[in-house]
């Protein structure tokens, strides 16, 4: 059974990797017209990519997806929420507070540890000549993802339409864009997409689907998806807010310095 799954994933991976390999080789030989610098190393690299992707996809099915659903199921289990108490017919959204706390912690901890974000933060500090701190940016993005996920789970529990939240978020982003320092804007927009890593996406998606399956009255197709969208939108706001805050602090310091003279 497992071998069958591995073989299936392996063949699928070959098909998935093919376009990017073909394209890179075509450009290397037909457009740039230079031989590959280290053919053996590159070939080994591609073997590793196919092997790694195969194992990863099978591991997802075996671990991350079941884990996300299981957590959702256990956290929304009436027997857990009303330990020892009488179970009422309808559940108030506030009773699911552990779900929101779980979403918040998963969002914050995975984002703080995200290597892609660290790379972007270091680059941003260099280019902005120290105005944007590495830790400040990382905490801003992590808080954004955490709040986004917590709000996203709240939306699944209540079943409110997702586009109200996203459109309201867009309005906030547009207003912030008018006032934020110009330098931070492209970085802030990018940080939304960067944060959702390969490990986080499946786990968070499974959490959302599990919630929609277990919370009474929810439709999996309509309510189950959407957590990733929240996790990509909120960092945009928090990064711009961080830049506005540090800009405001610098401005106040300058004013104080000029007053004391």
């Amino acid at each position: 059974m497992l071998w069958h799954e591995l073989l299936d994933a392996f063949l699928g991976t070959l098909r998935d990797i093919f376009p990017i390999v073909a394209m890179i080789l075509a450009f290397q030989f037909l457009v740039i017209r230079r031989p590959l610098p280290d053919l053996r190393k590159v070939a080994l690299g591609f073997v590793y990519v196919v092997l790694g992707l195969t194992l990863f996809l099978v591991g997802l099915e075996e671990a991350l997806f079941p884990l996300g659903r299981l957590m959702a199921k256990q956290l929304t289990d009436p027997a857990f929420i009303y330990a020892g108490e009488l179970i009422p017919d309808t559940v108030d959204w506030a009773e699911y507070f552990w779900v929101y706390i779980f979403a918040f912690t998963i969002g914050f901890s995975t984002t703080i540890a995200e290597p892609a974000l660290l790379a972007v933060a270091i680059k941003a500090q260099q280019v902005s000549a120290g105005a944007i701190g590495v830790w400040g940016l990382r905490i801003a993005v992590a808080l954004g993802v955490a709040v986004g996920l917590a709000l996203g789970t709240y939306r699944i529990v209540t079943g409110l339409p997702i586009h109200y939240f996203i459109i309201a978020g867009y309005v906030v982003v547009v207003i912030q864009t008018i006032f934020a320092p110009r330098l931070i804007i492209p970085l802030a927009y990018d940080s939304g997409g960067v944060t959702t890593s390969t490990v986080t996406v499946p786990l968070v998606a499974a959490l959302g689907l599990g919630l929609a399956e277990t919370v009474p009255g929810r439709n999996v197709l309509i309510d189950g998806f959407g957590l990733i969208a929240f996790a990509s939108l909120f960092p945009i706001m928090s990064v711009m807010a961080y830049a506005q805050l540090s800009g405001y602090r610098a401005w106040r310091q300058r004013r104080r310095a000029s007053q004391s003279e």
Binding site: P19, I20, A22, M23, I24, F27, I32, V42, L44, G45, V47, Y48, V49, V50, G52, L55, F56, G59, L60, E61, E62, A63, L64, P66, L70, M71, Q74, W98, F102, T105, I106, S109, T110, A116, I162, H163, I166, T177, L183, I185, P186, Y189, D190, G192, G193, V194, T196, S197, T198, P202, A205, A206, N219, I222, G224, F225, G226, L227, I228, A229
Partner: protein, 245 residues
């Protein structure tokens, strides 16, 4: 051989570090909050092992094979100055990296299963696979277009926020017409597309372009490609939903 083993060990530590926060949070909730035994603990541990090994090989392979060539190609094409090849490169880069993106493969499969359960598409395995592949092709196409648009923006030096705000307006308008059950999948696909493979290669292209054109600031003009790549999939997937559902 010894050095490549060392490299593998380093990547193994890296992927363990990626998973560590997830494991810590889940274990904490299991022990302190839920206080329930985990069913299928063996299967979960085995799957986690596969994820760690898979990530290790995957990232190692990317960094020894794909990234050096991709980055040198991006720089070479940015210097070459041929608009035609640059645009073709931008499109195929966006398309090729997105088709291979692991997170997108996972989500598309999940979405097709759920769409089949909900009766939106046929329940046969074939119909599900068609739907998942269609979803991925749609997203890949949209990322290809996004990177082309982003490259043209860097060449012309247009401000990024006007285009993003314009994109938001389009998303809001299409949301009004899209079937309700595709909206959340469409919104999610924006964040899913840009991860392990796409981000490094696309960022290399953007920063490479902005550095090789005089009068461009890498901070302002180099970033922003990812933002386009997370916005256009929403629009394209909603259109896909209007056609399929």
């Amino acid at each position: 051989m010894n050095s490549s083993l060392k490299a593998l060990a380093r990547y193994l530590l890296g992927s363990l570090r990626d998973l560590l926060p997830v494991i810590v949070v889940v274990v904490f909730f299991q022990l302190a909050v839920l206080q329930q035994p985990l069913p299928n603990l063996g299967q979960l541990l085995f799957g986690t092992l596969l994820v760690v090994l898979g990530l290790t090989f995957f990232i190692n392979g990317l960094e020894t094979g794909l990234f050096p060539i991709g980055e040198s190609l991006a720089h070479a094409l940015a210097r070459k100055g041929s608009l035609f090849w640059l645009i073709i490169f931008a499109f195929t880069l966006g398309f090729g990296t997105t088709i291979a993106e692991p997170a997108l493969i996972a989500i598309a499969e999940e979405a097709s299963e759920i769409a089949a359960q909900a009766g939106v598409i046929g329940a046969s395995l074939e119909a599900q696979e068609d739907y998942a592949l269609g979803l991925r092709l749609t997203v890949a196409l949209s990322v290809g277009c996004a990177i082309v648009l982003g490259v043209v923006r860097i060449l012309k030096g247009w401000p990024v926020h006007w285009m993003i705000v314009g994109g938001y307006v389009i998303v809001v308008i299409i949301t009004g017409f899209a079937p309700r059950d595709i909206i959340s999948i469409a919104y999610d696909s924006g964040g899913v597309t840009t991860s392990t493979i796409t981000v490094p290669l696309v960022t290399a292209l953007g920063v490479g372009l902005a550095t090789s054109i005089s009068g461009r600031n890498p901070m302002i003009d180099g970033f922003g490609l990812i933002a386009f790549a997370s916005l256009t999939p929403m629009i394209f997937v909603m259109l896909y939903g209007m056609v399929v559902h």
